[in-house]
């Protein structure tokens, strides 16, 4: 039991810090640059992202391990995972609109964006490749969600300051954001010795 829980903890730390998807694997950059302009949107996106990530990781684990592995059709995983995520996001969009309009107006706009994010596809694929158990898959999904939220929040807090700073004209906007991201990525390299799996 102790080894189990340490493994789960290690997975969460690994996915969120040492192998942060944005800063070490360079995935999901599109949303990362698009949503990190304001702290408020960054927070909303982070929360929605983590929730969607965990649920889609769980759903794809079930389909992959209970249906696709026994039938020996694992080569279909990319297409099936995309389908699962898209369908789940669409369904949750509809349900949220009815059940809690308040939450829908706050987070609904991010849902459609999420379905096209590559981290959300990468997590089930890595889960399948590494043959994680159900709990481990959940932990991995949670960790990567938290990692993405962390990246967004760090970036948003810096970019809000950059907005008013005196940046040389050619670097204004996106170029500066990329430079800052590379700096944070360098800083995250320092965490790489923290945990090894």
């Amino acid at each position: 039991m102790t080894t189990d829980s340490t493994k789960l903890f290690e997975l969460i730390i690994a996915a969120s810090l040492t192998n942060n998807f944005v800063f070490t694997r360079y995935l999901g950059l599109c949303i990362f640059f698009g949503v990190s302009k304001k702290m408020e949107t960054a927070l909303g996106m982070g929360i929605t992202f983590t929730a969607v990530m965990m649920i889609s990781a769980a759903l794809s684990w079930v389909v992959y391990n209970l249906v696709m592995l026994p039938l020996d059709i694992t080569f279909l995983k990319i297409i099936v995972f995309i389908g699962i995520i898209a369908a789940f996001v669409q369904a949750s969009d509809t349900i949220m609109r009815k059940m809690s309009p308040g939450l829908y107006y706050k987070l609904g706009i991010y849902l459609a964006l999420i379905s096209t994010n590559c981290i959300i596809l990468a997590v089930p694929l890595i889960n399948a490749d590494e043959q994680y158990s159900f709990l481990e898959s959940l932990a991995f999904g949670f960790g990567s969600g938290i990692g993405f939220a962390l990246a967004l929040i760090i970036m948003a807090s810096i970019r809000e300051k950059i907005e008013v700073a005196d940046v040389p004209a050619p670097f204004k906007g996106m170029p500066m954001a990329f430079i800052v991201t590379s700096m944070i990525a360098l800083a995250f390299m320092g965490l790489s010795g923290l945990i090894t799996i």
Binding site: V63, I84, A91, T94, P101, L125, A128, D129, D166
Partner: protein, 386 residues
Amino acid sequence: MHELQRLVLDVVRLIHGLDISNLLLPYVGVGGGIEAHEHVDLVHTLKYTLIFLVGVSAIFGFGLALTAQKFAVKIDPRVEKVKEVLAHAHCGACGYAGCDQYAEAVVNNPEVSPSLCTPGGALCAEAVAFITGKKAEIKEPIFARIMCQGNWDKSSKKFRYEGVQDCRAAVLAGGGDKSCLYGCLGYGTCARVCPFDALSMAEDHLPFVDITKCTGCRKCEAACPKKVIEVLPASKQVLVACHSKDKGVDTRKNCEVGCIACGICVKVCPFDAPKVERNLSRIDINKCRVCGLCVPRCPTKAIEDFIPKRSKAEVTDKCIGCQICMKVCPVNAATGEKKKKHHIDHSRCIGCGICTAKCPVQAIEGTFNATDVFCLAAAKKQNAAS
């Protein structure tokens, strides 16, 4: 032709002869790892693939259809239509959080007025009124007016500011670098918040309002830390463009174009519109008739006339020779004998429009207010007739 047919038959025979299921088919995983199966039963794989894909898509399809039906939210189709005609600046001028909220309120609540969208203007108000079945109130357009003419050449500074180039930041440093506490700082915060690109910073570090783009959403008014911007009705085009409440001497020291509260405008105005209070003259926009008499008389040129060029008055053949225009003209430009057509001396006329407004038979045209005066008179006549 025969040869081609034979070739095709050959190829078909060749394919038949091949036993694909005995081939070693590589199996490529996502991570780049290749797992080779010794034997792949192609028929089986294909069968399961088809069944699985059809099954998964059927489940997703039916599931989504079910949720869509079960959790359907009824939206008034009018809300979408209203949303389309609104300005989509999300400026909050209507008093709601955003355009979506206003669209919902205006459709569902019969007491919400359809003409609250200031950026959309009269056209949008009419469209919303048409969709919701309400009556649009015609509102005069409003524009942002910069109540300061003290650019960096004409006004003095008390220190050199080299911080963040934003008025909101500059004002933190001892109220800004300008000697005048009430003037425009000129770091362009208003131009950056304007959602319609109507404000731009001119060369002389004063904002310029493009009234063809300005919608009167009041975002700049809220953003300006010096409260230099006022949003006023479009027709009120003569304004004291100064907010300085310093004593006349101090104002003059700080700025060449500040109001020194000399009171000349109060004396000149035939309608009692300007009033000097706490060392500052202010024109009461309800009393002002935009005649522009005060503009050339102001010793510091603090009064701004937004009519670019005032056209001169012209007497038409309708004139009955009543001499009223001669009595009201502040510059004695009107001349003529009784019962004969009068004449207006263009070298004297300043285009104030007072005679146009006072003429009992609407015989004077050419001034800026002529169309308004004629429309009003026609409406009055119609009212009297009915």
